[in-house]
Amino acid sequence: MTDVRMKVWRGDATGGAFVDFTVPADEGMVVLDVVHRIQATHAPDLAVRWNCKAGKCGSCSAEINGHPKLMCMTRMNTFAPDEEITVSPVKTFPVVKDLVTDVSFNYEKAKTIPAFKPKPKEADGTRRMYQEDVERVQEFHKCIECFLCQDVCHVIRDHEENKPSFSGPRYFVRLAALEMHPLDTNDRIDLARLKHGLGYCNITKCCTEVCPEDIHITDNAIIPLKERIVTRTYDPIAWALRRMRGKSGDLGAGEPEPPSA
């Protein structure tokens, strides 16, 4: 058993500061274990949100030495023995208390994405998906909604004013899962551009780097959506082909109707 030094941010919406703790850590511990030991031995009123301790509920998101991570999946032996470890709440969302933040921004954004609207059933009363199509969107369904990608995204992290017009990587994953779904009939391309602000993303890939589920958010969700938007909005050849084939749609289509909740 060795002592570890941990600086934990403590405070609320009005402000706060880092508080130093030194506690013994056992072999095999993760950061969340140390935070729990601090709760048990030094600060019983330390607020921390957690649930599964297995990297599957997405509750214990925090910033550890400035890196957005799940506390339950960050092993203590990844730090140098005498390294001071800082733990702070995710910065993109308002602090409630200590390490707990109000992530309701995400739930409000989720409401603005229309639900899955499947095609009519085939003659035999079924709907079919083929394996290659299942595999493509399966990756997106691994999301545990830890919101680390939302936290690290500089578009809303560093620019509060963008929050009304930009939904963040989590919702581009959601939009991609539905837009690429072979059975979904809703058109979400204009929605992604005009209501969810995909154009604000400058693909710096931080969302992909922090994803604990290893979802290739930028490469497989955001960029394919951007390419679909290009076809719809910016590509004159695609526009000319649509016109020749008698399909509707002009370059830079107007604002869509507000999405249903």
């Binding site: 030495n65 400035g66 992290r157 620019h159 938007i229």
Partner: protein, 272 residues
């Protein structure tokens, strides 16, 4: 939705690792490449050493080229032929999704590293001019593919050595001898490696992946497009490596041809 912003946001970032190494490296490498490309492009000499043509000068489009590919521009053009073709690869790399990630971080500090704050107070991403032009990346791809085809032709030509004739190496001869035979030199290997790396970079590009099949919602009954999309996916998974290695290979190929043409080194030939 709560609107309160905690003061934690205003504090300096907490990263105490060497986050600045990556953006600094990118600035140095891309800066070095830009300086090198400008210098060799403006030089207008030492870009051909039979049968190797520098990728900075291919296709060579003027009648004044030492080794013209398509001499469609007459003697009135007296600048370097490299300037005529630099736009295609430059546009392709500048609008490339991977390079965008790199230079937005390294040059624009938007952000310089994950969780390190943006340099600018206001941010509109790629929604406004000139950054919305990034949406035309696929057009840069359309321009890059014919150039790539010509580089493949150059690589094939690199297997065809001329029968030694001292007059051809006087520096002024521009005739094209027909007496060529199969050969392999170090330059051949370099030229082929370069074009393979450029092909991996080009066909693994996100726009190519979309255009060959990524635009579809269902691949059922579209086996060719599914196969092409799957191959593009495999290349795309290592797009960053293809991007850097192909950048270095273009520079090294030019450097090798240049040093041979200047007489600094002699081409190592195994079969000639």
């Amino acid at each position: 939705m709560a609107t309160t912003t905690a003061s934690v946001r205003q504090r300096p970032h907490e990263r105490h690792d060497r986050w600045w190494v990556e953006p600094l490296t990118i600035v140095l490498v891309l800066g070095l490449f830009a300086v090198y490309a400008f210098v060799v492009s403006i030089q207008n000499a030492n870009y051909y050493y039979d049968p190797y043509l520098s990728p900075f000068y291919s296709p060579c489009l003027t009648t004044g080229c030492v080794h013209p590919t398509f001499p469609i521009i007459g003697d009135w053009y007296n600048l370097s032929p490299a300037f005529l073709i630099v736009g295609s690869p430059l546009a392709f790399r500048v609008t490339c999704y991977y390079y965008r990630r790199s230079y937005y971080r390294a040059f624009f500090w938007s952000p310089p590293a994950c969780t390190v704050p943006d340099a600018r107070a206001k941010y509109s991403g790629e929604t406004r001019f000139p950054f919305n032009l990034q949406n035309l990346h696929r057009y840069a791809l359309y321009l890059a593919i014919p150039v790539l085809a010509i580089l493949w032709w150059d690589a094939i030509e690199a297997f065809r050595f001329v029968v030694p004739n001292p007059e051809r190496f006087s520096g002024i001869a521009v005739d094209f001898p027909t007496d060529r035979h199969f050969g392999i030199g170090l330059g051949t290997v370099i030229m082929v490696t370069n074009v393979v790396l450029l092909s991996g970079y080009t066909f693994g590009c996100h726009a190519a992946r979309y255009l060959v099949g990524g635009y579809l919602d269902s691949f059922h009954g579209k086996s060719l497009r599914f196969r092409l999309w799957s191959w593009a996916n495999q290349l795309n998974a290592r797009h960053s490596r293809w991007a850097w290695f192909s950048l270095f290979s273009v520079m090294l190929t030019d450097l090798y041809v240049r040093l041979c043409a200047m007489g600094v080194i002699t081409d190592l030939r195994w079969v000639s």
